[in-house]
Symmetry: C2
Subunit: 144 residues, 2 copies
């Protein structure tokens, strides 16, 4: 289980925008200077815009900026926009009785459980957390 470069590049770009939040639009070139392929990144930023996570200013001096407060944009938002929703099994999106294994399939519950839990995890980290380096293994909500 790994993250695609799409997800990673998207997150890098969003962190960059968070770091420059309030400084006006950041050009594609400036973001790509992080070491990301410029033309590929352009596609990804298009997806982020269509997902409502960034706004753009076209034309000279234009660029990209966050569409919301860094504290209100989470890793989940970004991963969802870049890779589609976390999905461990298509059987979850199908009606229960459509599954050839029937309703008491012993794995269905696990797919549900893991999907919900991982979504919670991703939702728990915002861009603000990241730029403030607030993410550690003892963050909020811990009990182990």
């Amino acid at each position: 289980m790994k993250l695609s470069t799409k997800g990673k590049y998207g997150l890098y770009a969003m962190v960059f925008l968070a770091q420059h939040d309030g400084e006006g639009p950041q050009s594609l070139k400036a973001i790509a200077d992080l070491g990301l392929p410029e033309q590929y990144l352009e596609q990804l930023l298009g997806a982020l815009r269509r997902a409502g996570l960034v706004t753009t200013v076209r034309g000279a001096q234009g660029g990209y900026q966050l569409a919301a407060d860094p504290g209100d944009i989470t890793v989940l938002d970004i991963i969802d926009a870049m890779e589609g929703p976390v999905n461990f099994s298509d059987c979850l999106s199908a009606p229960k009785n459509a599954c050839p294994r029937g309703e008491n399939c012993p794995t269905r519950g696990v797919w549900e459980y893991l999907t919900v839990k991982i979504n919670d995890l991703l939702k728990g980290v915002s861009l603000k957390d990241m730029v403030e380096n607030n993410v550690s293994l003892q963050v909020e909500g811990e009990n182990e």
Copy 2:
């Protein structure tokens, strides 16, 4: 972020073996009757064997069986064997200063955090839990 069929088929097969634990070796054909492509499954079971999760009996009346108690085999073991370890970024396996972003990369902590947390999640579900349908959103270790 999704699970490959490798991971899913592997888990289906292991649950089947757990359901028939103690009944002697189960043939590939019997497992494939779950609706999985037989020759592909054979590869996967080979990987599970090499990972030490199943043992095999060759020859007529042979087959596969769990190498350990169902309570001692977790979803993590199976996913790791099928897809390799959960890995959100290669920068984690490299030394800290090998990363071109330097030591204070704001995403590195997130990769670490998510990797550990997801591993914990997967480790928390055993085959025993699954066959007993013990997996729900209120399982052990909850505090939200």
